[in-house]
């Protein structure tokens, strides 16, 4: 007799547990406002990332096409993966040969977005941009030269 009661008890509690679960999912079917899905590619215009989000390294240029990078290679040393490569050139300043930035080469394919290069920079020349759509069709496109053509260093940055 006891086993029969237990048998039906199990069926009752089993069914009740299933209904409790279905009630949760049913609640969300009838309350579509609580659904938080973002329609990603469609909402691209309104999508805003948080300001600290680390997407890729960019060299900051102002409206006069001037940057703050002196080519000191501190970021190159801080980078764990060899992502940043600074190529120097010699320029004449008051008759002296001085090292300056020729090319700021950035290998996005090797970057782990650890952000160690940003605090390493003594002149705050680089920052992390909020972009995140890095997919390209050709791997060579991931190697970027960050200083814009014709750009030069800001006055007074050493």
């Amino acid at each position: 007799m006891k086993s029969v009661v237990n048998y039906f008890k199990e069926i009752y509690f089993g069914l009740r547990s299933l209904i409790t679960g279905l009630r949760v999912t049913g609640h969300y079917i009838t309350h579509p406002k609580e659904i938080i899905t973002q329609q990603y590619p469609e909402n691209r215009d309104t999508l805003k990332m948080f300001e600290r989000f680390r997407g890729e390294v960019v060299l900051i240029h102002d409206e006069k096409n001037e940057h703050r990078c002196t080519g000191c290679s501190a970021c190159e040393v801080a980078c764990p993966n060899g992502t940043i490569e600074i190529i120097h050139k010699k320029v004449d300043v008051d008759g002296r040969k001085v090292k300056a930035l020729d090319k700021f080469v950035y290998h996005l394919q090797m970057c782990t977005m650890c952000g160690l290069c940003i605090p390493a920079c003594p002149t705050d020349a680089i920052k992390m941009a909020n972009t995140f759509e890095h997919a390209v069709f050709d791997r060579s496109k991931l190697t970027k030269i960050l200083n814009k053509p014709g750009s030069k260093i800001m006055d007074g940055i050493k």
Binding site: S17, T20, V24, F53, R54, C114, G115
Partner: protein, 372 residues
């Protein structure tokens, strides 16, 4: 060799490969199962498919650079891994860490634990055939990743710790967002019970499956919720408090059954504890600097240091041997996943293949953590 073949033929035993690409292995783990019908006779894990030689890479990196490699090990408790390395380096440097850093590290560590358990809960349901839980788990986890994204700058591999403190101060919105999350998640956590814990199908598939006794848990070195479900009191936060765990009240969750359902319950209860830890600390973040002054090039003195922390999976240890250079002479990680995996064979013997999936789910394996 010949003997094995003969016995295998006599007992109708056959071998089957589960993985390296299998949805329930959560990565690239290959299990060689020896089966008798559907009954598992032996499970032999073959690892190494995602080995990246992180320990060797550490020998060439500076101490600041090592931190970001630990993100790539147990990526679900990355902040706690970072913390372990930082604590070990700080121990070697003998720098005093500001109170503010300790509290922030603890809060973010507990948020990491919550997000890891939420993902585990969703994936566990999915492994057992219920895709609904996966979506619900990820819905709540999204709020935590938002907090991380705003404060740390990344959603998964955060790299927020640096030896000596934090990379930057918390975002002004951090406290409000975290409090909002705690109130929200307290309402949602009972839903988890409704959906899965009390579900009759789920209970049938987990209760009494994959038993691990306390003695076996200790001898295999099983830690974390997996070990605590067997009654092995191994919470590093409780026994060897680091950061701010010595000033918060929380219970160490212990179960004695040692089966899949006990491990499940252990993690659900840990989520409640994590919420309570966050609540105790979030209003009491002391003012002060977010970083202790350290040199740009950190050189540890000659010696060796070991620091262990409690990640979402168990005890994670960092052992540094320094020769006085700017990179360590040797660095060893004690990862919880590796020891927990070693007990899989013991737990799964005599079970069915479907039970093996449930057992693997409750161990909560993260394969990059095992391979390193």
């Amino acid at each position: 060799m010949e003997e094995t073949i003969t016995t295998a033929l006599e007992s109708q035993e056959y071998f089957i490969n589960m993985g390296p690409q299998h949805p329930s292995t959560h990565g690239v783990l290959r299990l060689v199962l020896s089966l008798d019908g559907e009954i598992i006779r032996k499970v032999e894990p073959h690892i190494g498919y995602i080995h990246r030689s992180i320990e060797k890479m550490c020998e060439h990196d500076s101490y600041q650079q090592i931190v970001h490699l630990t993100d790539r090990m147990d990526y679900l408790s990355c902040h706690i891994n970072n913390e372990a390395v930082c604590l070990a380096v700080e121990m070697g440097l003998q720098v005093e860490i500001p109170e503010r850093v300790k509290v922030i590290r603890t809060i973010i560590g507990e948020l990491t634990r919550l997000s890891s358990h939420q993902l585990w809960w969703g994936v566990m349901g999915m492994d057992l055939g219920a895709i609904t839980t996966f979506l619900y788990g990820f819905r709540d986890r999204e709020l935590i990743t938002d907090i991380f994204e705003e404060t740390c700058g990344a959603r998964l591999t955060m790299n927020y710790n640096v030896p000596g403190g934090l990379m930057f101060d918390i975002h002004p919105n951090f406290q409000k967002r975290t409090k909002d999350f705690v109130t929200y998640f307290k309402k949602k956590l009972p839903e988890y019970d409704d959906l899965l814990s009390n579900n009759v199908i789920f209970r049938e598939r987990t209760i009494g499956i994959g038993k691990l006794s306390k003695e076996d848990a200790i001898s295999f070195g099983v830690t974390g919720p997996t070990g605590r479900a067997s009654g092995f009191s191994c919470d590093v936060r409780k026994h060897y408090p680091y950061s701010a765990y010595d000033r918060v009240q929380f219970k160490e969750i212990l179960r004695t059954e040692g089966d899949c359902f006990a491990r499940y319950q252990c993690r659900i209860a840990e989520m409640w504890e994590s919420l309570s830890i966050i609540e105790q600390l979030i209003d009491n973040i002391p003012e002060g600097p977010f970083k202790a002054p350290t040199k740009a090039v950190i050189k540890l003195p000659k010696g060796e240091w070991y620091q262990k922390v409690e990640t979402a999976r168990g005890e994670f240890g960092v052992y540094i041997i320094s020769e006085g250079q700017k990179s360590p002479y040797r660095l060893k990680f004690r990862s919880p996943g590796f020891s927990n995996l070693s007990a899989l064979d013991h737990m799964a013997r005599g079970c069915k293949i479907a039970d093996l999936v449930a057992i693997m789910s409750t161990i909560d394996l993260v394969i990059p953590d095992i391979d390193r």
